[in-house]
Amino acid sequence: MSLKERMSGNEAVAYAMKQINPDVMPAFPITPSTELPQNVANYIANGEMTTEFIPVESEHSAMSAAIGAEAAGARTMTATSSAGLAFMWEMLYVAASSRLPIVMAVVNRALTGPLNINCEHSDSMGARDSGWIQIYAENNQEAYDNFLQAYRIAEHKKVMTPVMICQDGFIVSHGVENITLLEDEKVKNFVGEYNPEHSLLKDTMAVGPYATSPYGMEAKRAQAEGVNQAKDVILEVAKEFGEISGRNYGLYEGYCLEDADYVIVAIGSACGTTKDAIDELRKEGKKVGLLKVRVFRPFPAEELTDALKNAKAIAIMDRAESYSSQGGPLAAELSAALFAAKSKAEVKKIVYGLNGRDYRVEDAKDVFAALEDIAENGNKNPFEYTYIGLRE
């Protein structure tokens, strides 16, 4: 019997960490992810986990220690947010290029500038080109489920790539909701043991050697293959997870999507708000829908554009500013994919929720109204992007 509980996103992921009981967790606290290593440390102190917890002096050290542990053949995890993730930056690339399947819980929070600790995707979106797989959650249930699936993806022979399991800071990490947990035994059987083909503890080997220009390009192409292969593996793992949990996941989730003329594309907790708006608008007969991007790395360009093939107008919403004059990263990448797919849909690029600004049901309804307008009258400013709730 699965267990009904009430948990915050942080508690849910910490519970997943307990059930997986990896070998090593180096971590440094940072709001709003602090509760993750804190709860794990509690579980260890209470004898419920055997993970070796390494209290390090910084996030750069946390990721460095994670790289060392993983290279030694230990299943390794860590957790961070915002500036902590930024401080790991240099080592994120080393973890990915060394093909070390570390799993990291990221609790999305704005990078400082201005100083702010609230929800935003600028931290993990900034790390989107670091070579890590990125999976995003709408709520605490998904954060828990995604974390349980993460090692199966990261450690898959064809993938061998680190994974970030992202959830929205405070909105998900600190919001307590109902959750259904899997039994420990089920999790144990599903996740399995980690037996890397090579590791520092059992092989004579060197990790992370120098690659001169005659080798670096081939090395990066080989690294990209791990991410490329991850798409199929994510779906395989999700299918198997669905069989034990009854909860089904894909690269994206469509909500009232198939017959929708007007579609919001978003990531994370904003999708729950958008679903409420859709429920209300559908009662009025409006053909509105949502495409929730679950996997951002690898970017599922073909699948997303195929899912959007019937849409007349699409709002692509980013909870991060790129300062590219073109909106956020999801808007840029999905627009490029829609062009490649020869989509005729009108596209509206939107930046919302910066520095923890609320995104409400009424905001989603306004977006759908704007989509209806550009579908009928055309998008007069296709190169511009707009903000939700900006005072101007």
């Binding site: 060394s98 992370g208 690659a211 080798y215």
Partner: protein, 100 residues
């Protein structure tokens, strides 16, 4: 199947590289010809050399081979031309010349 580091060269395709460029055998630096970085080259005057072997100890690489207690000529496949041996030699038996 990926190759061992010894068999990887500038014609190797990306598909044949090891995972994360990991190296699974020891002493591969012997096969990596770092001597091509050199812009000046040490020259040994055997007449002046007293075989004190100070240069061997000072060489930051392992570019001065020793056999039967005596140093041989430089291993120019690995010598990067740093010139430390010139300074280390008490007998001025080593000089640097421009180029490889």
């Amino acid at each position: 199947m990926s190759l061992t580091a010894k068999n990887i060269n500038e014609n190797t395709k990306w598909q044949d590289l090891t995972l994360g460029l990991q190296v699974y055998e020891p002493a591969t630096s012997r096969d990596f010809m770092t001597g091509e970085w050199r812009v000046s080259t040490p020259v040994l005057d055997m007449e002046k050399c007293k075989q004190c072997l100070l240069c061997v100890a000072y060489c930051p690489d392992s570019s001065i081979p020793v056999k039967d207690g005596k140093r041989l000529d430089f291993d120019l496949n690995h010598c990067k031309g740093c010139g430390i041996c010139v300074e280390a030699c008490p007998f001025e038996a080593i000089t640097m010349k421009e180029g490889k």
